[in-house]
């Protein structure tokens, strides 16, 4: 069949890319080969727009065992153990079909983790939707949440945290970023490598169907309309199959029969086979008729490009194939020997005895085009940033302003979401959703892990460099609030169309900000994901570089939660209140404005504040710790009061800073943590803070049924809690 310019275009390849491909092949590709090239060189698989910037990210550190490049990164946590984690986006599929899109996103990220030999021990989800009153929002939220729960719950992996954000910039481009962390022995890392000539290539898991095949196949005579109809655009997840796959893989990995393993994710069999062969500098010979198939009469093109879920590709030592087949049989999953590793560094694919693909591995896999796309600071930025806050009127009634903020969907309780997730299975969840970070214990050790995901995309819109740095800072702060030392991060970079210079500029700035912050916090980036083209009708989402961060607690018993514990405890504030209203939730919710500059980040102060908090927790004197973020100090103080499940504890607080009251109450200056300690420990904590150079002040006392601040705010805790708790369910019901 002749490859026409239309077919090339439909496959998303530029003329240059096609010419380059012909040069690498030494001839024109056939249709199957063209399909392979198009997916291997897609933005998704090749990172062609982002790669040159991603090089800026710090990825190394003393405890990093595996950085970016494999299916997920791995960090040493001592005791012979390591954790493996990564975050991935499933934005577009979730917009098309929220339940299945989100579910398969969760399924995909979990496969990335257990393919490394780690058993998944927790999930996070960072999800963003359009305005609460946008007609699509409720259906999307409800579908995404049940999809995430549906998959994670069935797998028996607890979903212990995350974030939910509403903003009209996501009206037509929601974000669904899923994170999984797994636990493994530090010396048993599995890689996606096809080494050892003659070793068997084994396919295991679900059968292959015509799911998620892209490419413009109508153009080809090979496909009639009915086969088009049989190509569902939406993939349906099967968490039950994946649970079996997980258990089978864990058992398979106990032996040394498995040489390499990789999940079939995006671009399915193509991507896994090419990447595995490339990493080992080998070739592969595949026989497609042996692939377990769900649909009839599948073509080579379809099988190579199918994105059917719940499948893995294994390379197994020659002669040990039966062990693998037996374990798969025990777990009732399909397994088939579909080929072998060769030494010629070529990918040779046969279908019914006919050679249908014959390509060099390395160039297709490793020499995808790389673009240095033009970037330029958007002209509109300056006018957004220059804003005279004197023009903002002060609220008449601070109590009602506070109530409005707390019942806005962004600040309201997210229990409606996380109660649909099994957050306790595996019986390790020491701090469940609701505090600044989740804490899970590691059985058999005294250790614990803390997990959080953060990003304030409004900050990133106003200043992507600062916004990205603040996302890292907030994540680290949230970990410090539960007493954990930040270890490493994964990211999910969600942006608009990179072919536009201002988007490329946002991307570049965000990377630079994130890189600097990671260096300062000594938290290398060990894995991540880029999702571009998040725009509709020319309108891009706010730049949203989501950060997933993992921290370590040496003694998991020594942790803190965000809520007041005892009447009479002294409340202290670490950090400084500045006159910063730019980008705040208050400006947006109360005044309908998105403007100014995000808060400043003083790294030294931030590090000192976090350190003081951690030391206080480790010494056992901190009774509660909660960082000040969206909504500012007043909101944070309320959260310390209303987040408690049992009993009522308010507080009386006096702030002495000479700022305009709305900036003092609702401004979002970075690097602040609210601490409560028993009164006899207040001085000790002040000393700790001073020793590490963190600004600190005693600002009040826990107790009573009301929260009172400076005589301007005086609210009933029980009433406010009720309003805060029911806001999201009420929004979903109406």
């Amino acid at each position: 069949m002749k490859i026409t310019t239309d077919i090339i275009k439909d496959h998303g390849l530029t003329d240059d890319e096609y010419r380059h491909a012909c040069k690498l092949l030494g001839r024109e590709p056939n249709l199957t080969e063209l399909g392979i090239i198009s997916v291997m060189w897609s933005e998704h698989c090749s990172y062609k727009s982002s790669r040159i910037y991603l090089r800026e990210l710090p990825t190394r550190g003393p405890s990093v065992l595996q950085g970016p490049g494999e299916n997920a990164g791995v960090v040493d946590i001592g005791d012979g153990l390591a954790v493996c984690f990564k975050m991935e986006s499933h934005n577009h599929p979730s917009f098309i079909e929220p339940y299945q899109g989100a579910a398969t996103g969760v399924g995909g990220i979990m496969r990335d983790i257990f393919t490394m030999g780690a058993r998944p021990i927790a999930n996070l989800n960072s999800i963003r939707f359009g305005a609460p009153n946008h007609p699509k929002t409720k259906r999307l939220l409800s579908g995404v949440v049940s999809g995430i729960g549906g998959y994670g719950n069935t797998m028996g992996v607890p979903t212990v945290g995350g974030e939910v954000v509403f903003d009209e910039c996501y009206n037509d481009n929601i974000l669904v970023n899923a994170f999984t962390i797994g636990l493994m022995k530090a010396d048993r890392i599995f890689k996606g490598q096809a080494s050892g000539i003659g070793n068997a290539v084994i396919y295991i898991g679900s059968k292959t169907g015509r799911d998620g095949i892209h490419g413009a196949t109508m153009a080809s005579g090979e496909f009639d309309e009915s086969s088009e109809e049989q190509r569902p655009t939406v993939q349906v997840g099967d968490p039950f199959m994946e649970k079996l796959l997980l258990e089978a893989c864990m058992e398979l990995m106990q032996s040394d029969a498995v040489v390499g393993i990789q999940d079939m994710g995006a671009a399915g069999l193509t991507c896994s086979s090419f990447e595995m062969a490339d990493r080992a500098e080998m070739g592969m010979e595949l026989h497609l008729e042996r692939v377990p198939q769900r649909a009839e009469h599948m073509t080579a093109y379809e099988m190579m490009l199918s994105e059917s879920q719940e499948r893995m590709l294994l390379v197994v030592k020659q002669g040990r194939e039966n062990e693998v087949l037996q374990i798969c049989d025990k777990w009732d999953i399909e397994a088939a020997i579909i080929g072998k590793v060769t030494g010629d560094r070529r990918m040779k694919v046969y279908h019914d005895g006919k050679l249908v693909v014959d390509m060099p591995v390395a160039p297709i896999s490793g020499e995808a085009p790389i673009y240095e796309r033009p970037y330029a600071e958007p002209t509109w930025k300056k006018s957004l940033n220059d804003f005279d806050f004197a023009s903002i009127p002060l609220p008449n009634d601070y109590n009602s302003t506070l109530q409005t903020l707390l019942t806005s969907p962004n600040l309201a309780s997210k229990a409606w979401v996380w109660q649909q997730y099994d957050h306790m299975v595996q019986t390790n969840t020491v701090v469940p959703p609701g505090s600044d970070a989740a804490v899970i214990r590691i059985k058999g050790t005294s250790k614990g892990l803390a997990l959080t995901s953060d990003c304030n995309s409004r900050y990133c819109y106003l200043d992507p460099r600062m916004g990205a740095a603040l996302a890292v800072a907030e994540a680290a702060r949230n970990l410090s609030c539960v007493g954990a030392l930040p270890l490493a991060i994964t990211d999910c970079l969600n942006f608009g169309n990179p072919e536009k210079p201002d988007i490329m500029w946002q991307f570049r700035e965000a990377i630079l900000g994130m890189s600097e912050a990671c260096r300062r916090f000594e938290t290398p980036i060990i894995s991540g994901n880029v999702s571009l083209y998040n725009e509709t009708g020319g309108k891009a989402i706010y730049p949203t570089p989501t950060v997933g961060m993992v921290g370590l607690l040496d003694e998991v018993e020594r942790h803190a939660t965000a809520f007041w514990k005892s009447k009479g405890d002294t409340i202290l504030l670490l950090g400084k209140n500045n006159d910063e209203l730019g980008g705040s939730e208050y400006l947006k919710q109360i005044h309908g404005k998105v403007c100014g500059l995000p808060p400043e980040l003083d790294y030294d102060r931030e590090l000192a504040v976090q350190k003081a908090c951690r030391i206080g927790i480790r010494r056992g004197i901190v009774r509660s710790a909660h960082d000040v973020s969206d909504g500012g100090l007043a909101v944070a103080l309320v959260e310390c009061s209303i987040g408690r499940e049992e009993g009522v504890l308010g507080a009386v607080v006096t702030l002495e800073d000479d700022l305009r009251p709305d900036a003092l109450f609702f401004g979002e200056s970075a690097s602040r943590i609210l601490i409560s300690v028993a009164p006899q420990h207040a001085e000790t904590f002040m000393m700790i803070a001073k020793e590490v150079g963190a600004p600190v002040a005693m600002i009040g006392e826990v107790g009573g049924g009301r929260l009172k601040i400076n005589g301007l705010i005086d609210v009933d805790v029980v009433e406010l809690r009720e309003a805060w708790k029911t806001a999201l369910p009420r929004m979903m019901e109406t």
Partner: protein, 79 residues
């Protein structure tokens, strides 16, 4: 008036539930079962309404709520 709406997965869409049922039946000795697809049957009782009107309204309901038309198709039967 009574009506039934049959909601089934579109052809080609993976049906893990059906597959699991088939596998379960095979395990119980029902090897003759080659394929299983699980769909929904929604029985609706309607108040005073003409057949035409009913047909129109049910189609609307199916599109909007009863079926997920991205992956499912539906068939309406008036009784």
């Amino acid at each position: 008036m009574h009506a039934r709406i049959y909601v089934t997965l579109k052809k080609g869409v993976h049906d893990p539930q059906g597959e699991a049922v088939r596998h379960g039946l095979a395990g119980m000795g029902y090897k003759e079962v080659l394929d299983v697809r699980v769909g929904k049957m929604i029985e609706v009782k309607l108040g005073e309404i003409s057949r035409e009107e009913a047909e129109k309204r049910l189609a609307e309901m199916s599109e909007k709520l009863l079926a997920n038309t991205v992956i499912e198709s539906y068939r309406i039967e008036l009784l």
